[in-house]
Symmetry: C2
């Protein structure tokens, strides 16, 4: 027999993916306590890989671990978001600036293709949710291509982390179509800047792109109040 139950990925990876996805889709809201024993059932693996997954998530700022008290889903304040997007603007701008000097024709083609696909998606008559998620996927392609073109693997990694955090801060990703249209225009302008090898232009438009994204979150992000670490001691006796 060819494979059957040959494993697809380690238990730790599965636990990591499961928990991470549940945080992103809101199953585990900000400040939710993540108990290891509960996650054991939830993920279907033993505590060892669950713990490993939690440590990874902590390293990536998805959860906060306090010694002897376990993990909580990280919550984001307004200041955190400002901080996050300010750094993103700086670094994505820098990446675009570097990319403008060295983007390969192949990468330019890839970006152009992604933008054309976005056009197709936006003018299609698919349900809005589908349009949004497809747009987000293509958006990621564009950005990652720019990061790679910047030629700095470390910059790429850091930007990956920052974007993950930004994604988490969304929690419920409600995107307006006008917001997406704005974003789309930025991408088109970015492509022109890269094609003309105009580093300053590329950097500037990318920074605008990120700042606009921050501003769009403004309305959507209520400042969650910090909750106590142990919310309730199980249900009271009767």
């Amino acid at each position: 027999m060819e494979s059957g139950a040959s494993y697809v990925s380690s238990a730790a990876d599965r636990a990591y993916a499961t928990i991470r996805a549940s945080i992103l889709n809101g199953t585990f809201p900000p400040n939710a306590r993540l108990k290891e024993t509960e996650l054991v059932d939830f993920c279907g693996v033993s505590r060892t890989p669950v713990r490993e997954a939690l440590r990874r998530l902590a390293a990536e700022d998805f959860v906060v671990i306090t010694r002897n008290q376990g993990a909580q889903v990280k919550s984001w304040s307004h200041d955190d978001l400002d901080d996050l997007f300010a750094l993103r603007a700086l670094l994505e701008g820098h990446a675009a600036e570097r990319a403008a000097r060295r983007t390969s024709p192949e990468d330019l083609r890839r970006i152009a293709a992604a933008i054309e696909e976005m056009d197709a998606v936006l003018t299609s008559d698919a349900p809005q949710d589908e349009k949004v998620s497809e747009f987000l996927r293509l958006n990621r392609v564009v950005h990652e291509t720019v990061w790679r073109a910047s030629g700095s693997s470390r910059l790429m990694r850091i930007l990956g982390h920052l974007v993950e955090q930004a994604l988490m801060a969304h929690t419920a990703q409600r995107f307006s179509l006008t917001r997406i249209a704005e974003s789309h225009h930025h991408h088109q302008e970015l492509l022109r800047a890269l094609e003309s090898r105009d580093a300053a232009w590329a950097e500037a438009i990318m920074r605008s792109h990120i700042h606009a994204a921050r501003r769009a979150l403004e309305h959507a992000a209520p400042n969650p109040q910090p909750r106590p670490l142990r919310p309730r001691p199980a249900s009271p006796v009767e």
Copy 2:
């Protein structure tokens, strides 16, 4: 009794600190294989905390973990170093630029005090090793104060990581006194820039400071050749 064997820190923390220090002081050279069972004896704790320590070190780029093959001390190529210091220059410059607008009188005093201490250390007749390590400590104080003054906790964390990596890349920290003197002058100039709230000046001098540090490593960093993952199968049977 007051404390006796009350624990100072968890086993995982101790393992982390032990391994990390051994990497920094050269006991575990680049590309060295770190076997969990050996580290159990070396650190005096069981495999569980050793594994946790290794994962942490991997997240901080001190080691590289390959699935089912364990951990290796990370080795740094010239390109890695260029990448690292380019990012450091950008981010430390940015931090200095932001700090210039908001450094508190207290922080300015702290930086000034550290610089005066450096003066004292450099003109003392202590052994050179001692002078160097004391200078490095004060150097860290100056930089961390600037980071904190930048007002971005995330920036502070990332810079912390980058500096750790730079430290590791040194391996054997051989610093010439002329290099230190140059560094000292940069610090003095940085202080003046901050005191006069000149953001552009602060950013520029900080960038110079970092680039100079990269250049100083130029001579000291031989490009280590990657070694196979399993070096030797224990000693051959006679």
